[in-house]
């Protein structure tokens, strides 16, 4: 039933996301060449060169293979950083909204303080403190993104707390933890899912931005952001180096955002909360 309501674009977007996940998981087998193999004699070949359909970079590495292998880090990072951010953010939001009082005041001010930093700056600071590497990149992204969910959840918990089904459960002697988890959590879930979908796109772009600024994962691991950053100096002579990864990022993020929008229309048609995040 619901499926028929999806426009054709949704199928394309879903396909793009599926390809992204597939390539992210199996990239190392799919890449036609070793993405790290260098050949200084065949550097900066333009696209459609024999053996290199998308050309080579400044060290003679195959751009197509690097684009394929480059899906792995964004996939891992977004698939771990977003759920971890949700875990922390939702927990803090639940506690803050449900317990209220001084705990709420402190937690919310801390959240506000956190939100007052631009994400990218926090992420930079964390990568700088922790050092490079994919685990630290994920920590940095979680550290800079958890606070979004706190406000989202806490606002809804505040209003749910006084609703009839909660107050009656409380009168029946149901423990606070159970009320929070069994009764309140399911009600806030839809909006969290909506924001989370859009956050996947944001995290992918943030990861690319960090790699772009030279604060990404190991250089041994190709990522789209790092490719873009390395290709930047050659922008007027070898346009494909910075252009192609940018197009790939845009397409993937577009598909994710598109699906997120559809999800929002389905779950919560009148909400504009997703765009605030």
């Amino acid at each position: 039933m619901i499926i028929r309501r999806f426009p054709a674009g949704a199928w394309i977007a879903a396909l793009v996301c599926a390809v992204f996940v597939f390539v992210g998981v199996f990239g190392s087998w799919l890449a036609p060449k070793d993405p790290n193999f260098q050949n200084l004699l065949t550097r900066l070949l333009p696209p459609f060169s024999p053996g290199h359909p998308l050309g080579t970079d400044a060290l003679g590495r195959d751009v197509l293979s690097r684009l394929i292998a480059g899906a792995q880090v964004p996939l891992i990072v977004s698939m771990t950083a977003v759920p971890l951010s949700i875990l922390i953010g939702v927990a803090v939001g639940l506690i803050s909204g449900y317990v209220g009082g001084a705990v709420d005041a402190i937690l919310m001010r801390l959240t506000d303080a956190w939100l007052a930093f631009p994400f990218i700056l926090l992420a930079i600071a964390f990568v700088a403190v922790l050092g490079p590497g994919i685990e630290n990149l994920i920590i940095a992204l979680v550290a800079s993104h958890w606070a979004i969910y706190v406000r989202l959840v806490r606002g809804q918990v505040l209003s749910l707390r006084e609703r009839e089904f909660v107050t009656s459960a409380r009168m029946l002697g149901v423990s606070d933890v159970r009320i929070a988890v069994q009764h309140i959590l399911p009600a806030v879930w839809p909006s969290v899912i909506i924001v989370a979908t859009l956050e996947v796109g944001v995290v992918i772009v943030t990861e690319a931005s960090l790699s772009f600024l030279g604060l990404g994962v190991s250089a041994a691991q190709p990522t789209w952001g790092a490719m873009l950053s390395e290709g930047r100096a050659y922008i007027s002579s070898a346009w494909w180096l910075a252009t192609l990864p940018g197009i790939v990022i845009s397409i993937v993020v577009l598909a994710i955002n598109y699906l997120g929008n559809i999800l929002r229309d389905l779950l919560d048609p009148r909400s504009s909360v997703a765009m605030v995040a």
């Binding site: 007052a116 631009p118 700056l121 700088a128 403190v129 690319a208 873009l228 577009l254 598109y258 009148r270």
Partner: protein, 338 residues
């Protein structure tokens, strides 16, 4: 309502206190030493090195340093930059002006693009033009900003030579400084050359940040306009035979609050420096200042910059909240707005 605003103000102070603590300890946890960095490859004896540390107050315990910093900051003294040899407040303030100018122009462009698009889309709900505009907005929202900036430079600056590649104003253009805003100053002094140069310089970076912003404006406003369109009072206006212009104005006023909030939140973020846009376009703003300061481990400058950035964010949120309260009477009496 005054009580609510005062309450919010109190909250803001607490938030800034937290921010100051986070930034202070975070930057000191970061490996790297400001003294080493500014001495560079020069040959300096350990005694000299120690003397610099002492001069910068870095030999004291970290908590003493923090209390000193707080005490001075409360008195309005953010200290001296280690690397720049100027007061942090003057450096940070000048950078903030550049950032604010960029943010304001960016928001104006975003509104100029987003509002008409939203109107057209909402009036043609679910028709081809709506689909087209919505898709465009989604695309605008998805393109990484730094990449867009590079592509704009490549196309419009390097290949077509239409715009300069970076900076705020042509180096050969003299401009008397009044407010610190290039565009405003050139209008105030009637300096056409400076105005032309300033507008050309700000065009691409402002466009870069405006694209994603316009997409947000368009999506949110479109949603509220569609909802408002169906409301009774609009039918009533229409039946009274009012012109389309007047009806649009009524619709926009009623659909505005969510868009205003979003613009407020985004503007708050932008005032903190569109870090990547600023670095791509060599825009001497707050974001770039802070990034450079982090690289140089210029502790006082990082602290001052982040504090001002957070202050801008908090103040803009506060103003947004107040506007929100004024626009939406329902909140005025209830619990604090979200």
């Amino acid at each position: 309502m005054l009580k609510l605003i005062l309450y919010r103000f109190g909250q803001a102070v607490v938030v800034l206190l937290f921010v100051s603590a986070i930034v202070f300890f975070l930057i000191r946890l970061t490996p790297g030493d400001p003294v080493d960095i500014f001495l560079g490859e020069q040959n300096v004896s350990p005694e000299q090195r120690q003397a610099y540390r002492r001069a910068l107050g870095l030999d004291q315990s970290i908590f003493v340093q923090y209390l000193n910093f707080l005490w001075n900051a409360v008195q309005g003294d953010l200290g001296q930059s280690i690397y720049e040899r100027a007061s942090v407040s003057s450096l940070v303030f000048n950078a903030f002006l550049a950032t604010a100018e960029l943010a304001v122009v960016g928001v104006l462009i975003a509104v100029a693009m987003g509002v008409p698009a939203a109107l057209v889309a909402a009036m043609n709900h679910n028709r081809l033009s709506d689909r087209f505009l919505s898709a465009g907005a989604l695309l605008g929202f998805s393109i990484p900003t730094f990449w867009l900036g590079i592509i704009l430079i490549l196309g419009l600056s390097v290949h077509l030579g239409l715009f300069p590649t970076g900076g705020r104003i042509g180096g050969d253009v003299a401009l008397q400084k009044i407010t610190g805003f290039v565009i405003l100053d050139s209008i105030l002094t009637g300096n056409l050359r400076a105005l032309g140069s300033g507008l050309l310089h700000i065009a691409l970076p402002a466009l870069t940040i405006a694209v994603a912003l316009a997409a947000s404006v368009m999506q949110v406003l479109r949603g509220s306009l569609i909802a408002v369109k169906e409301e009774e009072f609009i039918y009533a206006l229409r039946s009274r035979g009012l012109t389309q212009d007047v009806i649009y104005r009524h619709m926009l006023r009623n659909a505005a609050p969510p868009t205003v909030i979003i613009l407020g939140v985004k503007l708050g973020g932008l005032l903190g420096g569109a870090i990547i846009t600023e670095s791509v376009f060599s825009w001497p703003g707050l974001g770039r200042l802070i990034i450079d300061a982090i690289r140089a481990r210029d502790y006082p400058l990082v602290q001052g910059g982040v504090l001002l950035m957070a202050m801008a964010f908090v103040i803009v949120s506060l103003i947004t909240d107040i506007i929100h309260i004024l626009l939406d009477p329902r909140i005025r009496d209830g619990r604090e707005g979200k």
